[in-house]
């Protein structure tokens, strides 16, 4: 039997273009090879065994996760080396111990003496070690200690004195999402590298081995020219890309592998509006392109082959309604898409859009659904 075509699908639904995805994966693989650095893919964007399997350098890892639910799911699938890249909350340490008891090498991160103390206490109480990385703040984006901060050394010393010397340092250049163009991205990649390498150097000067030096974000990973001193790179959104990534210049719109299939359900002709059955529940409330030079509203509207359809974007969204209109604000001379027509909408940000769905509908080069790949959402 033939695979279903798009017009047989009820909408909204999440499409994953496998050929585009594989091209994105190959691009990152080549970049890591060129830089000669380890790769620990972040699974937070895809939250899917089938997708992650295609990113990983081996079936047992390593990977990066954003939730312990992701760790549970990948551990159950045989992954043995997992970095949980959010500063650890003391009430999650029992969960980490359960994962370790399953034979998973878990790395946790922290950026304070308070958290280090909690980890030491739990290690003593459980008579189990933890592998701890200290998070470094390379760009003022959110968490981490500054590479020159006294607290970096204090945390290192505290962990070492308790028999849990830091396994290394890690950072994430979240501010790279606010850069535009290759020059700014290269500079941010170097800033990220220099910060985390400097932190490792300071800990080593105190006699700690600090074997792991980890960094990453999709924009910096793809822009870095030299990662001297770094042992591993983390990145996740590159597997699908999205309009935010296109806006900062790390991919083309044609590289975006994820889209939401939607159907026209009405019109408001005097306003130039076409109403779709994909609102913010289907696209997410993410407006990440709002501050970029090209604001894509709630998403860029494409035809069924995934090519942009005139200059249509979602200018507004309600829970289950998307308002499609010309980016220019034109209200006349617009292409009329009859009720029942289907379109594909590219998302601003792949992570929250994908999170609204329990699975991907994987589409092949004939725009037919070749597979359903489940996701795991939540915590």
């Amino acid at each position: 039997m033939m695979n279903p075509s798009l017009d047989q699908l009820e909408t909204p639904t999440l499409l994953l273009d496998e050929a585009r995805m594989m091209r994105n994966i190959e691009r990152m693989r080549a970049q890591m090879q060129r830089l000669g650095v380890g790769f620990r893919p972040h699974v937070k964007t895809n939250k899917c065994l089938e997708v992650s399997r295609r990113l990983m350098t081996s079936a047992t890892g390593p990977i990066t996760v954003s939730t312990l639910l992701e760790a549970d799911q990948f551990a159950a699938a045989g992954v043995k080396d997992i970095l949980y890249a959010v500063c650890i909350a003391p009430n999650k340490l029992d969960h980490v111990l359960r994962l370790q008891a399953q034979g998973v090498r878990m790395s946790i991160i922290l950026d304070s003496l308070e958290a280090a103390q909690a980890v030491i206490e739990k290690s003593r109480a459980s008579a189990q070690p933890f592998e701890v990385l200290i998070e470094i703040d390379c760009d003022g984006h959110r968490s981490g200690v500054k590479p020159e901060a006294a607290e970096l050394l204090e945390i290192g010393r505290l962990l070492q004195s308790a028999g849990l010397p830091p396994k290394g340092v890690m950072t994430h250049a979240g501010e790279s999402y606010n850069c535009t163009g290759p020059k700014a991205l290269q500079a941010m990649a170097e800033q990220e590298r220099a910060a985390v390498v400097r932190a490792a150097t300071r800990l080593r000067e105190l006699g700690m081995a600090c074997p792991v030096v980890s960094l990453g974000s999709t924009p910096t990973a793809l822009s870095a020219e030299n990662l001297q001193g770094v042992t591993e790179v983390r990145a996740g959104v590159y597997v699908f890309f999205d309009l935010v990534m296109a806006g900062i210049g790390v991919c083309a719109v044609d590289d975006i592998a994820l889209s939401v299939l939607a159907t026209v359900i009405g019109h408001q002709p005097e306003k130039g509006w076409t109403i779709l059955d994909a609102g913010w529940m289907a696209m997410s409330r993410d407006r990440g392109t709002q501050k970029q030079p090209l604001d894509q509203g709630y998403g860029l509207v494409c035809d069924l082959q995934g090519q942009p359809l005139d200059d249509f974007i979602l200018v507004g969204a309600n829970q289950e309604h998307g308002i499609m209109a010309s980016r220019s604000g034109r209200t006349s001379g617009l292409r009329h898409l009859p009720v029942g027509s289907q379109v594909r909408i590219l998302p601003n940000h792949a992570c929250p859009t994908a999170a609204a769905y329990d699975y991907y509908k994987v589409i092949d080069s004939q725009q037919r659904v070749s597979a359903h790949w489940p996701r795991f959402n939540g915590w």
Copy 2:
């Protein structure tokens, strides 16, 4: 065994305060009774059998849904009267027929001749009737035909001539979310009523019975003083309320029944930041209070009893990180919440926040978890 206390929960997780919810339900019930009008609760906010059971006027309905997945779930639970309140896409009519075949009285809506034609064709092909309401645009918010539009009568005539006379008219004053204060809300409620009653009158003048005259939104439902000519009200978010509803003045912050439990995972003292393990994945990207007089960021931070904690809000959010800071921007003299401390965060908009979770943790008056109530997300 005692019910678990909040400090035994891994975070982030979604809390539902049952006493607050029951108070909100009772308030709407009393308002509907006072107005002497039917009530068809909207289940799109809660997407939960346990919650909806407490809203419904009978175990078999009526209810309003925003997706056909909601219709499926409630049909399986014995609900027999369901309005799907998004203009019908032709590719969903087979799904509607399946629901009808299960004995559910399904009402669908449309606002165009194109959609009416598609419904007529499907009715002929399947030899099954459809109950059709015509959507009326009362405020320019999204879908619907204007009550004075020629197209209203054309759609009515087309349906009638095909043996599917319109069951009635419906409208939704989505613009009520942009009103503030009782006067503006009362005026919007009257605008909503007048528009939909006028549309019914015009259809009746052509000889159509038009028995159903349906309207609703939480703000207008709670503000209406007179609903003459209306047969039923729809509302959904009132069951939990949220910061957007508090901002427009239809509830107090203390009425908000939904919150996200989060844990402190770090600090950036020089910026006055406390980092929480609840980011936009846990809160949603909704920034509905941004245009209100009091911008609540990504949520209002409360203590474990649900009372606002100083003037802390989430000023920023990453995927799994929330940045809590003083609303005033103060960076010194702030209360220090140690790593591991828990807080409850009230959401801007209950619908997208709840959609990130597979269940509610229901908490009793002792702040203990008395039940887990599952939700159904997606389409």
